[in-house]
């Protein structure tokens, strides 16, 4: 069972589809505590990423993730463009041999890229609050020798729990932080899109 180019392509494709499906919902979340563009931003970027992959089929998995990264960086803008772009770029650089353990490590490298670029901390109410628990769950499950499908399911569930866990919190990073107390009780749009990313992995990569 290896995470080859096709598998990664399916993941990216499924993420793009999910983002499209939930576009208005993500924008709605961003209306409440931001500027009403997160769904549009993510959809613009992922649609362009899928188009770029279709136009020039990538040589390998690393190339595939790099194309996604560069497309997010050059087509999205805002906060999510550089952050998701950095995530895919760092994953691409750390992809390894396509084994579940390598995948878990590269996923963690991607998340660390988001930390480095955005300087947010756990609990700040950002995408990290979904991504960090997912990375932890993935590493742990794979380390404990679980099958990839179970490990990814654990990661997706951890992401969703992370998203929900910070919902009551006051945002300390990004645009939502301007609201102060008024940000409490709202789902963070970036955490919501990050859950879609991990869910997409659970749906597609588990079958690899």
């Amino acid at each position: 069972m290896t995470l080859d180019t096709d598998a990664l392509g399916a993941w990216v494709g499924e993420f793009a589809r999910a983002v499209r499906e939930h576009r208005d919902e993500l924008t709605e979340l961003d209306s409440a505590i931001g500027d009403a563009d997160h769904g549009t931003n993510m959809d613009r970027g992922m649609t362009a990423a899928v188009a770029a992959l279709d136009a020039t089929p990538p040589a390998d998995g690393a190339a595939l993730l790099k194309t996604v990264a560069m497309t997010m960086i050059s087509k999205v803008g805002g906060t999510s463009g550089p952050l998701y772009g950095t995530f895919f770029l760092r994953m691409s650089g750390a992809l390894g041999d396509g084994s579940p353990a390598a995948f878990a490590a590269s996923f963690r490298a991607g998340v660390e890229g988001v930390v480095a670029r955005g300087k947010a901390e756990p609990g700040d109410k950002t995408l990290l609050d979904a991504l960090l628990p997912a990375a932890d769950a993935l590493t742990e499950a794979v380390g404990a020798g679980q099958e990839l499908d179970a490990a990814l399911r654990a990661a997706a569930d951890a992401a969703a729990r992370g998203r929900d866990a910070v919902t009551p919190s006051v945002a300390r990073k990004g645009r939502a932080s301007y609201l102060g107390e008024r940000s409490a009780g709202h789902v963070d749009p970036g955490a919501a899109s990050a859950v879609l990313l991990v869910e997409a992995a659970a749906t597609t990569l588990a079958r690899s």
Binding site: T40, G78, K173
Partner: protein
């Protein structure tokens, strides 16, 4: 959604086409969505680049021209432009004297400009200095968060640093002017109605008929609190109170007072507000040396206003009065 647009996805490109048609002395790169000064790069001059999400017009494209910006990058509505655009703008205005990036303090803008600066550094010898504006006193606890937002003072930084660059001053000095202006300026805004992001198709927030948002941002981000509607006199007080509390504006050579419309508020009302601002400042012992009243940094069709005060000195007044020739600010030429 009632807007004079075509497809929401085309708003930025369509508006840039309009700008290109209306301002033949600007040069517009439609692919990179950059508004260039027609004669950029200007030999010997530091280049000024700014940019940000669209929907704040005339900011930034309307401030491109002699005495102000050399290039402005237009992002999607309320979304920072991307590094590619900033790199192209930086290269397009660099005449060897270096380039100043004027960046409003929003996570997205800061990250994208940072990535652009890294790319420029990696690819070319162009020296880039960035100045981040963060004048919005509506944002408290700014130490532990994304910090204060860059709002009204950005317009003043672009004018004053632009005038300094036009005098042929070196990059370090131009950046110093920009930083000083940011450090001496404070703003606070409010909204009577929400804006509607074209791609979202409905108002970003709902505001009851008898309430207003205090401390609202320029992206329709909800403010810190909702208060009952109040007369202009009280609105001026509510906006100026935290501004005056944050920095001492008394004494010296006085202030530049800037009443900015959010896009859907007519000039008639801005003058009503300005009358009250003058009255509050007079009572607070603050002298007004210069003023600016108009819609210069908007939030689509949001109704509301912001007030910016900038402590000025002789030098800043001279830079303010210096000739400027852009679509939105023009005098002395």
């Amino acid at each position: 959604m009632k807007k004079l647009i075509n497809d929401p996805a085309d708003v930025v490109d369509d508006a840039l086409r309009g700008m290109a048609a209306a301002h033949p002395d600007l040069r517009i790169d439609p692919e990179h969505r950059i508004v260039f000064r027609g004669d950029a790069p200007v030999a010997g001059k530091v280049g000024l680049v700014s940019g940000g999400g669209s929907g704040h017009e005339p900011l930034h494209g309307g401030f491109v021209g002699m005495g102000m910006l050399d290039a402005a990058c237009a992002g999607e509505v309320f979304t920072s432009p991307v590094p590619d655009q900033m790199v192209a703008a930086t290269q397009g205005v660099d005449a060897g004297a270096g380039v100043l990036h004027i960046v409003k303090n929003y996570t997205g803008d800061v990250m994208n400009f940072e990535m652009a600066a890294e790319l420029v550094a990696a690819e070319s010898g162009t020296e880039v200095v960035s100045v981040v504006t963060d004048d919005d006193v509506a944002v408290t606890d700014s130490l532990y968060t994304a910090g204060r937002r860059g709002v009204g003072v950005t317009v003043l930084v672009e004018k004053l640093a632009g005038a300094a660059a036009e005098q042929g001053r070196p990059l370090a000095e131009v950046a110093e002017v920009a930083r000083r202006v940011n450090g001496q300026g404070r703003s606070m805004g409010m909204a009577l109605t929400s804006c509607t992001v074209p791609a979202a198709g409905k108002p970003t927030f709902d505001l009851p008929a008898d309430e207003m948002e205090l401390g609202v941002g320029i992206h329709g981000e909800p403010g810190r609190r909702r208060v009952p509607l109040a007369p202009a006199r009280e609105v001026a007080e509510m906006l100026l109170e935290p501004v005056l509390a944050d920095l001492d504006f008394t004494g010296g050579d006085g202030v530049l007072a800037f009443v900015n419309g959010m896009g859907g508020t007519p000039l008639l009302e801005l003058y009503v507000v300005y009358a009250e601002v003058q009255a509050v400042l007079a009572k607070a012992g603050v002298t007004v040396a210069r003023s600016l009243v108009g819609s210069y940094m908007t939030s689509l069709e949001m109704a509301g206003c912001s007030i910016t005060l900038l402590k000025v000195d002789d030098e800043l007044i001279r830079l303010w009065d210096a000739p400027v020739r852009t679509p939105a600010l023009r005098w002395g030429v």
